[in-house]
């Protein structure tokens, strides 16, 4: 062999890097070009909804799959994002007046909390920063105290329960159980319009794609390796001189930010935000989706959210009662037989073929 030694290595590296991005690019093309062309508006809207959930799932994949933090309260962050957006939408419609639900809740002037949300930049900023701040505070409090594992899971679940009660109780501020609905326009675009909905779909899909790439980059960086190390042996990482609490807090905050952004996108897509979307059950359902898709692979988390979202719609259209059985059974099977989810099965198949 008298070929120069460096060349094949370099070429193969470039090739690997290209090959690595082929699957992503392929999915992106399907999602951004084929879907809007092939799907009728109603189904495209549903897909946009699943993709919003996929953004949350991506965050769960990061926090749970990579960081080992089982967060059962992701709906809270999703809700904070959603409510921020909903407040902005309601205020633009009210045009200086009061949002409709305040009328029937007996509120006579605009609460001070609401006023700044008339500004879209503030509202969108809060949709992401609000969840991040809450996660930082909560994370600092609990991770510093080395609350972890099951304790952390239960605390986040209690947070979801408390959040729902708080939102429902403050009807004048939040619309109570009804939440907020009846939105007409976003940045001057009629939300009922099919082209607006198609545009929103493209925005959601692009945001998901970018976040996916960013998260993947992050996971492969030094920080990502540290995160996995924290998951696998927190004490050891501490002995090595790192601060696991900081790593975990940052990760938790990132996943919260993603959930918040997803919530903000969800509201114009679906047209409603209500406490029912962020309680214990929806938060758990997203974790289920991530587990089914495969928590150890970020793509698995995304896939899981879309598959489960679709399955839920399809099942409830066919036979409503079966959904709980299916969801439960799927879960038992995944946990006992395929803990790595669909992504794990795909990986196993690929290995089997390679062997």
């Amino acid at each position: 062999m008298n070929r120069p030694r460096g060349m094949p290595v370099l070429r193969s590296r470039v090739l690997t890097s290209i090959r690595r991005h082929v699957p992503f690019a392929a999915v992106a093309v399907v999602a951004l070009v084929a879907a809007p062309l092939l799907l009728e508006p109603f189904r495209l809207g549903l897909l946009a909804k699943y993709l919003c959930y996929a953004i949350v799932a991506l965050g769960i994949g990061l926090a749970w799959g990579k960081g080992g933090m089982l967060t059962l309260g992701q709906g809270v962050f999703f809700g904070l994002g959603g409510y921020s957006m909903a407040m902005y939408l309601k205020l633009t419609e009210a045009e200086g007046g009061l949002p409709d639900f305040m009328g029937w809740s007996g509120v006579e002037e605009l609460p001070a909390l609401w006023a700044p949300f008339a500004n879209p930049v503030f509202a969108l900023g809060m949709a992401v920063l609000g969840p991040v701040l809450l996660a930082v505070v909560l994370g600092t409090l609990v991770f510093r105290q080395r609350v972890r594992g099951a304790y952390f899971a239960i605390l986040t679940q209690a947070l979801a329960a408390a959040m729902v009660i708080l939102l429902v109780g403050q009807q004048g501020l939040t619309g109570g159980t009804n939440g907020m609905t009846n939105f007409f326009e976003l940045f001057g675009q009629d939300l009922a319009d099919d082209s607006t909905q198609r545009g929103l779909y493209l925005v959601v899909a692009s945001v998901l794609g970018l976040l996916y790439l960013g998260t993947r980059q992050l996971v492969e960086s030094r920080y990502g390796r540290l995160l996995v190390a924290v998951r696998d042996g927190e004490d050891r990482v501490r002995f090595l001189g790192y601060d696991p609490a900081l790593v975990k807090t940052v990760t938790f905050a990132l996943s919260a930010g993603m959930a918040g952004l997803a919530g903000a996108l969800f509201v114009p897509v679906v047209g409603i935000i209500s406490p029912a979307l962020l309680g214990i059950v929806p938060s758990l359902e997203l974790v289920v989706a991530v587990a089914v898709g495969g928590r150890h692979a970020l793509a698995g988390a995304v896939l899981g959210a879309v598959v489960m979202g679709y399955a839920k719609t399809a099942f409830s259209e066919q036979f409503a009662d079966g959904w709980l059985y299916l969801q439960g059974a799927l879960f038992i099977l995944v946990m006992t037989l395929a803990p790595k989810g669909i992504a794990g099965l795909v990986g196993r198949l690929r290995n089997a073929r390679a062997a």
Binding site: L70, A150, A153, A161, G169, D235, V288, Q327, G328, T336
Partner: protein
């Protein structure tokens, strides 16, 4: 009597309910590090047992058996394969609870069923009705029984050994698999007993478990892993807190206050009130 004095026994009785629903959970959670999200479904199973049997006193042992056996099956069939992955167990158990909930809906119908309270529980002393006193007595009896089992029987002592150091216990010849089975049986059985008790105060329907499960978890978290005295103190503390917080504000706010207090409390005692000392590293 001024209303706020009444809140004291009310708080204690709320605490008794919390203790009863959390007792089994602290058993399984503490002893095996398993977060049993299906605990709520076992409570529900106990309540439906009471509905089928119709007699409160007969229902107690029956519910213990029914729920205990369900727990045993769950442990043998699934959970024992997942001991190394406690968080997965949580999700698995949730899947089980979904199936059980739908099963109850199909077996007994979606509407609530009626479990009549026995005539001898009508009436009461002061603010506390007899059925509340009965629940308090049941909670005390449950705690005493668990305590006696853990400290006064060979099996119980073996259980404690497994909790403190599973591998060492196994090396010393304890059949840890059997201990796990038994622990799960008793823990789930206690959930069944709690289920019978709550028929006296609340609705009996397929979603019954969901109502109580979060509260039960909070008691266990605040009390500390598998610590009996922790669970007792936490349940009574949370009961009183609930009672007074609701008295001075309202039911919604009281729940939020309870959550805030627990977070704050965990800042001081991150592992709950009582910590199991162990040399085992994570």
């Amino acid at each position: 009597m001024p209303a706020f004095v009444n809140q004291l026994p009310i708080g204690l009785s709320i605490g008794a309910v919390l203790l009863l629903i959390a007792l089994g959970l602290t058993f399984t959670f503490g002893q095996m590090g398993v977060i049993n999200m299906a605990h709520g479904s076992f409570i529900m199973a106990g309540a439906y047992t009471a509905y089928l049997i119709g007699d409160l006193l007969l229902a107690l042992p029956a519910a213990f058996l029914v729920a205990g056996l369900m727990g045993l099956v769950l442990e043998r069939a699934a959970i024992r394969h997942l001991y190394a992955r406690p968080l997965d167990t949580l999700l698995l158990a949730w899947g089980v609870s979904l199936v059980l909930q739908q099963l109850a809906r199909d077996l007994f119908g979606a509407p609530n069923v009626q479990v009549p309270a026995p005539a001898w529980l009508a009436g009461g002393i002061g603010i506390l009705p007899y059925n509340r006193l009965f629940i308090m007595a049941l909670a005390v009896a449950g705690v005493v029984a668990v305590w006696a089992y853990l400290t006064r029987t060979g099996l119980g002592r073996r259980t404690q050994a497994v909790v403190q150091n599973r591998r060492l216990a196994a090396t010393s010849g304890i059949d840890t698999g059997r201990v796990d089975m038994l622990t799960f049986f008793i823990g789930s059985g206690l959930a069944g007993v709690a289920g019978v008790a709550v028929t006296l105060i609340g609705p009996v329907g397929p979603a019954l478990g969901e109502v109580y499960i979060v509260d039960a978890f909070l008691v266990v978290v605040a009390g500390g892993l598998g610590q009996l005295r922790g669970a007792v103190l936490a349940a009574v503390g949370l009961g009183l807190l609930n009672s007074y917080a609701e008295f001075w504000s309202d039911a919604s706010l009281a729940k939020v206050i309870v959550f805030a207090v627990i977070i704050a409390f965990l800042q001081i005692r991150p592992q709950g009130m009582f910590v199991l000392r162990s040399r085992v590293l994570t």
